[in-house]
Amino acid sequence: MRNHDSEPVLSVQNLQVSFTTDDGVVRAVDGVSFDVYAGETVCIVGESGSGKSVMAGSILRLNNSSTATTTGKILLGGVDVLSADESVVRGLRGSEVAMIFQDPMSALNPYYTVGDQIAEAYLVHHPEVSKKDARQVVLQMMIKVGIPSPEKRIDEYPHQFSGGMRQRIVIAIALINSPRLLIADEPTTALDVTVQAQILDLMMDLQKEFGMTILLITHDLGVVAEVAQDVIVMYAGRIVEQSDVEAIFHAPTHPYAWGLLGSVSSYGASKRGDLFTISGSPPSLISLPEGCAFHPRCVHSLGSGSRCQSEKPVLRPVGNNGSRSACHLADEVLVSIGTGTGAR
């Protein structure tokens, strides 16, 4: 088992983020709490609208401050990001905590060379270093992230790189200051399968080398199976299940996780025969269903008049795998159905 005695690298406590839009208030994140410990890889899984990206953005206070209202606590090495001074947060960004975004095509500034952009990330936290020395650091980093002939490519512009190579540049920017925590928001979603595999391998190798903690946001359960230790499943702005990776795949404890696993794992296997599906589609975050947000799509819902429709379920320990689930069903039911649903 992992050692959780030490202080967590990241501690999110009752985080709530809402956006004011013309159509109403969007409750993107609705009371999320979790801890991430040193050296771990934690995956946050969810579909679009689950609040996972907004949650990730609030860790470095990247959400638009004029429309977003954020409450709760986000502790990074003892500092509460949400209440700290802008200058303190700026000091954390890119040095203690770095971020990788989904689309490498748009994540790089098209007007400067990739070398300038990596160097910029280094120099802002190392103002005493000369540009010439920084260039050497950048070259070293480009080699580490696997960019061939870096001496030539350092002076090229982002549009001269392929998608996979650009994502390597983004990773170089993220890792140039050896951050303690790396937040990767769908880092491989925009990439081709063969390139996706390369990038995942690279991230795992660099994690070992730098001893980083990784918080990886994804919708792809394959990626989760590949890299995660701890898994957090989000639905409609809340955590519905938190388990370690073995448990999530072999004995999930939430109906949404069952559905997700079922609908994905069944189609890899064989041709024909109906796929397992979750009916309906994710709810609007402006008008969430009463009670458990998943109940209108849930085949195991306790029916009309039940707690499923009136009371938001709270995350609680279920079974003996260390899993936590936010479901009104009885523990035994969750464990027995879950064990039957899991992949073998």
Partner: protein
């Protein structure tokens, strides 16, 4: 890159020739007889015929155009015998109304237009981009609303109306400034400034309005870009992000439009010059229209066309420098 520039210049020259043909033939097809106009109302038919030969209007239109084109490069002689005179190259024709070579007429009026355009251009870029940036940085707040209001009023104000309003209020009612009377900055600089300040402001405010809008929207769009988010995540200061990430992106379309707008002004700020009685090319063009002074009209139109075409080439080349993605390797 060099090949790209050469290619653009080549196309620019082709375009200019086409424009010159079009302009020349357009004016030649007008139902006015320059020969008759050149000798007043009570004119004997034989004088008109003689004038026609003297002015070269007896020749076919193609020959006339050829002489016009030739005149640009080698100069041109008009009349015969003792009445003969020469407009040296580059000759854009001879105005019989004003008894002067068109080139020298343009030479006299162009500086006025240039001073007006350059001054107004600098002012409007500063106001437009400044106000637009303030609006974008305070999106939804009162600064933004004020700037948006300024932009809507500015674009919808007709120049002549706003110009006259400024003239009446500041010069006549409040008498803050004397009535503008243009003097060359080389002769009397203070008088030049006093005469120019109102036209500069009027032109600048009206043009700035659309730039305010462009800057504001461009910046807001840029601020939503992923790469700006990455800039923030790197730990860069807001100032650096604005300069290197946001403005860099927002200014590119502005450069294009600014280049064309400025070139358009250089062809003559017709209304502003008329309202403030500035002896520039625009006012000369208007006079030429009223007097049916075709050679002057052809000349000023050609000059305006040259500026627009050149501005296009310069903007295209500037684009290559500003945006590495369109840079041709």
């Amino acid at each position: 890159m060099l090949l790209f520039i050469i290619r653009r210049l080549f196309f620019a020259i082709v375009l200019l020739i086409a424009v010159s043909v079009f302009t020349y033939f357009l004016f030649a097809l007008l139902p006015t007889d320059p020969a008759a106009l050149s000798c007043g109302i009570h004119c004997k038919p034989e004088t008109i015929a003689a004038n026609r030969i003297r002015l070269g209007y007896d020749k076919s239109i193609f020959e006339q155009y050829w002489l016009f084109l030739k005149g640009i490069f080698v100069g041109r002689d008009y009349g015969i015998g003792t009445a003969a005179f020469t407009c040296p190259a580059p000759s854009l024709g001879y105005s019989f109304n004003q008894h002067a070579c068109v080139t020298s007429l343009i030479g006299e009026t162009f500086p006025v237009t240039a001073y007006l355009s350059i001054g107004a251009f600098i002012l409007w870029m500063m106001i437009g981009i400044g106000v637009g940036a303030i609006a974008a940085l305070n999106k939804g707040k009162w600064q933004d609303r004020l700037a948006t209001a300024f932009a809507s009023v500015g674009v919808s104000l007709p120049t002549f109306y706003f110009g006259l309003l400024a003239l009446f209020s500041i010069v006549i009612w409040f008498q803050i400034l004397p009535f503008p009377s243009y003097e060359s900055p080389l002769d009397n600089f203070p008088a030049f400034i006093t005469a120019m300040i109102l036209p500069w402001l009027v032109l600048a405010i009206i043009s700035a309005a659309s730039y305010t809008r462009l800057t504001r929207n461009g910046m807001l769009e840029a601020m939503n870009e992923d790469f700006v988010r990455l800039g923030v995540a790197k730990g860069l200061r807001l100032r650096v992000i604005l300069r290197r990430y946001v403005m860099r992106q927002a200014l590119i379309p502005i450069v294009t439009i600014a280049g064309l707008d400025f070139a358009g002004l250089l062809g003559g700020a017709i209304i502003t010059e008329s309202v403030f009685s500035l002896p520039g090319m625009g006012r000369m063009s208007i006079r030429a229209v009223v007097d049916s002074d075709l050679p002057v009209l052809v000349g000023t139109t050609m000059i305006a066309a040259v500026f627009i075409v050149l501005a296009n080439v310069i903007v295209d080349i500037a684009y290559g420098f500003l945006d590495p993605r369109v840079r041709v390797s």
